[in-house]
């Protein structure tokens, strides 16, 4: 018996070695979602954007806390209210050896609107641009239509392609389909394209000439493992070395496993509840003549009735940080002194009574059940807490496709959702979530409670045309403070995104939830 076991062990070792002839410098990464294409301007979506960061650089980069850092531009500054000067990094070479210059920037920004059939275009970042002028090979001036302080943030979203390699017969040069096959997929980034078998693997090799310093990994294989259990199993069985989004249900076990290193970062995503502050009466509250949610006291009662610590610790298993703002401090526009929202059911009952609802009312809370970490469970917990102060709450948790449809058709009087601020600064959530919906200004795109506060709108509009950093930060802070005071929405927590790596490796966690091979480092502890 003993002998047999030893033989099995030997076989096992043999099989593992045969299955993965791993060099020390090769890693395999398990992703929860695959990019839909490799064209960096095709689909503005997390999985695509994180993959593009391997092949390309933008003029401006974002560090792990989403602060802007020099990328292909070493310096940038406004030289008038509408013109920005970018100084480009000298001696940078594309993967094919050709030097990077201002022409590539012009080509790239001009290519963005030409990409056809994009399901989520990058034109939201290039629309403010009026013209680009090449001053010399390493200096460009970008003129905007109006004073536009967010230009550096927007430029951090536009990857720079090689004008030469991406040239082609189509108006956009190399087409999305060609780029997905690797044709013309030439950037300045830390990795070069090797191959992509859709649904199975995407292989990249190190760019030895990378200007930002070499990563330790000569070859990286990304594998799409959308099933949570399968992704964890792949890590535990040695099929991959690093995975993103290990599910909360397995997190406790993984933390206890000595062969796994968990790292985590507070993300730029806030989980919040939006309330219908528009209709009178509102359909989700059948037993009130008027819409109680239009009363600030009721909204505040619902906010202080939530025990955020309990949700963060028990339901989120530590993957949530109680929130009292749209973004976590110290992101741009947050306040250092933002007080946490105290859990206070007595005060909540009093506020309800003051507003004329001593016996509460009943409400339906909509939520997705497969979009955010433990979304439906969080909604259930909130419902229980609201019910305790007399607001009888029923949860309607549905799959995300149905949820977004219902939300956009204003079917909910209260709904739980999340918002990740891609730019990592305050104007993004303010504009989308609490600014009065206005089609022409592009305000309130996701403000489906149709909350409206003239003071917030005015401060935000002022901030959006204030190029001076200090003044703009103050305006955004004031706008956020006002929206929070008025309970324009109820923040619950900031999501914490975890990564799991096998022993000996560590993932340098990022606030934007991106999984980047160059952020995988050797763990010094081992």
């Amino acid at each position: 018996m003993q002998f047999k076991r030893a033989r099995i062990a030997a076989l096992m070792a043999g099989a593992m070695m045969a299955a993965s002839p791993v060099l020390a410098e090769e890693i395999r990464v398990g992703l929860s979602a695959e990019p839909s294409a490799l064209d960096p301007y095709y689909h503005n979506l997390g999985p695509n954007n994180q993959m593009a960061q391997h092949f390309f650089d933008a003029l401006i980069g974002q560090d792990d806390e989403l602060r802007l850092v020099p990328g292909l531009a070493t310096a940038w500054k406004p030289i008038s209210d509408t013109v920005w000067e970018f100084k480009l990094r000298p001696n940078v070479k594309f993967h094919d050896g050709t030097p990077f210059s201002a022409e590539d920037v012009v080509f790239s920004i001009n290519r963005v609107p030409k990409v056809p059939n994009t399901p989520s275009p990058f034109t939201i970042f290039t629309r403010p641009v009026k013209s680009i002028k090449v001053i010399d090979p390493l200096t460009i001036h970008i003129e905007t239509n109006n004073p536009y302080p967010l230009l550096p943030n927007d430029m951090s979203r536009i990857m720079i392609m090689s004008a030469k390699a991406a040239a082609g017969a189509a108006p956009e040069g190399k087409t999305t389909e060609q780029l997905s096959k690797g044709e013309g997929l030439v950037g300045t980034g830390p990795f070069k394209f090797v191959e992509w078998v859709r649904g199975d693997r995407l292989v990249v090799a190190r760019n030895d000439a990378y200007w930002g310093g070499k990563t330790p990994w000569t070859k990286v294989t990304f594998r799409p493992l959308s099933n949570n259990a399968a992704r964890v199993a792949a890590l535990l069985s040695g099929g991959v070395d690093v995975i993103e989004n290990p599910p909360t249900t397995d997190l406790k076990k993984l933390r206890e496993n000595p062969n796994v290193t968990i790292t985590q970062a507070i993300s730029n995503r806030v989980i919040y509840i939006h309330l219908d502050s528009f209709r009178d009466p509102t359909p989700g509250i059948p037993d009130a003549q008027k819409n109680p949610l239009k009363d600030q006291r009721v909204r505040e009662a619902l906010s202080v009735a939530i025990n955020r610590d309990a949700i963060a610790n028990r339901i989120m298993e530590g993957l949530g940080i109680p929130a009292a703002d749209f973004l976590v401090y110290p992101m741009f526009g947050t306040r250092k002194d933002t007080p946490p929202i105290q859990f206070n059911p007595e005060r909540a009952r009093k506020l309800l009574a003051d507003a004329g609802y001593p016996n509460g009312f009943s409400v339906t809370l909509g939520a997705p059940n497969d979009r955010y970490i433990n979304d439906a469970d969080v909604a259930q917990a909130v419902a229980a807490m609201w019910t305790r102060i007399g607001v009888k709450t029923q949860v309607e948790a549905v799959t995300r496709t149905v949820f977004f449809k219902n939300r956009d058709e204003f079917k909910y009087s209260a709904y739980l959702a999340g918002w990740g601020a891609g730019t990592g600064e305050m104007s993004d959530p303010l504009r989308a979530l609490v600014a009065t919906p206005n089609r022409d200004k592009g305000f309130g795109g996701t403000n489906k409670g149709r909350y409206s506060n003239a003071k917030v709108d005015a401060l935000l509009e002022e901030a959006l045309k204030t190029v001076d950093e200090k003044k703009r930060e103050k305006l955004l802070q004031d706008a956020a403070a006002e929206a929070m005071r008025d309970v324009g929405l109820i923040p619950i927590h900031f999501e914490v995104s975890p990564w799991a790596a096998k022993k000996g490796l560590k993932y340098k966690a990022r606030a934007d939830q991106y999984t980047l091979a160059h952020n995988v480092v050797k763990d010094a502890k081992n």
């Binding site: 503005n44 059939n117 994009t118 399901p119 649904g199 199975d200 959308s226 259990a229 990740g420 989308a432």
Partner: protein, 325 residues
């Protein structure tokens, strides 16, 4: 015969039309693809632009009319998500699924047939009863649970087999398959076993029932009386006669295995078309969902047709012209 085939093809065209309409309306009811595809930052104007680019700004009946018109010319539309022709995406992935389905079918026969015959020969023995009990498990255990258990045991605990993925793909005589490399075969074992389990249980039941019935036939008694060795009685006379129902059922099931290996493919991250279907449903990628179901319907119709025709060849008493449906 010809009339039968033509009638059958016309019926399947009708099924195709009904199905495509159902999928169209279904996806429309589930949600708005633009809400899923567009970046949350997108403004109202951006969303309208996306809807226009994808043709989603028109009324549903108009979208369907455009789809039918294009489909009649062989164009099944471009994926909303990938921007590539939907049919092309499916064919790109079909090889992996067909390979998995065929291997699983072969495994299920290799395992199920001997076990079923044995259980039929010794229905009251302990082994025979255990096999039948086992086949009940094979039927009733959910595929995703079996898959995860196999991964836990063979990949995570024992470390013998890879947990997921397709492994290396070799090519031989112009065919691409992971059967041509050791690494590929190692990757195939777990998913193929998972998929084969239910089919093997079916085969066991069919084989056992067949053997029990055939053993009492006169020709078996006669063969035994003639003094033929037991091996020949079972290997030739019994086996031949129990194969007809097994071949029929297996033939029909290949289609459904190809079409609905979805769960297995998801658990094992197998890059087949089942996984594409799941992803496409989640993303409301209607052109891919419709194209997928058209392909599946086509496969099922063809397999049914072939089985029916084979029946008439095997058994002259069957007249195709008189069959309904």
């Amino acid at each position: 015969m010809l009339v039968f085939i033509i009638r059958r093809l016309l019926q399947s065209l009708l099924a195709l039309a009904v199905m495509s309409l159902l999928v169209f309306v279904g996806v429309y009811l589930i949600g708005d693809p633009v809400a899923i595809l567009a970046s949350p930052d997108a403004t109202e104007v951006d969303r309208e632009q996306i809807a226009r680019a994808l043709g989603l700004d028109r009324p549903l009946w108009e979208q369907y009319a455009v789809f039918v018109g294009e489909a009649l010319r062989g164009n099944f539309g471009k994926s909303f998500v990938f921007g590539q022709p939907a049919m092309g995406l499916i064919f790109e992935r079909m090889g992996a699924t067909v390979e998995l389905a065929l291997v699983a079918t072969v495994v299920s026969i290799l395992v199920g047939l001997p076990l079923g015959i044995y259980a039929g020969l010794r229905p009251d023995g302990i082994a025979g009863r255990s096999i039948m009990a086992g086949s009940i498990l094979g039927f009733s255990l959910p595929t995703f649970w079996v898959g995860l258990m196999l991964i836990m045991i063979f990949a995570v605990q024992l470390g013998l087999l890879p947990a997921s993925g397709r492994g290396q793909v070799g090519s031989f005589l112009g065919l691409h398959s992971s059967l041509f490399t050791l690494n590929g075969i190692v990757h195939l074992i777990l998913p193929a076993t998972t998929l084969a389990l239910v089919r093997a249980a079916t085969t066991i039941r069919l084989a056992r029932a067949g053997v029990r019935e055939v053993l009492h036939m006169d020709y078996v008694k006669f063969a035994r009386a003639k003094g033929l060795p037991e091996r020949r009685v079972i290997g030739v006379h019994v086996l031949k006669n129990i194969m007809i129902p097994i071949v029929t059922v297996t033939g029909l099931e290949i289609g459904s295995v190809i079409a609905f290996a979805v769960v297995t493919e998801t658990i094992y991250a197998w890059p087949g078309m089942g996984k594409l279907l799941i992803d496409s449903i989640v993303n409301l990628d209607r052109p891919v969902v419709v194209a997928y179901l058209i392909v599946v319907l086509f496969i099922l119709v063809m397999l049914n047709l072939i089985v029916d025709i084979l029946y008439s060849v095997l058994d002259p008493r069957v007249r195709l012209g008189e069959q309904k449906g």
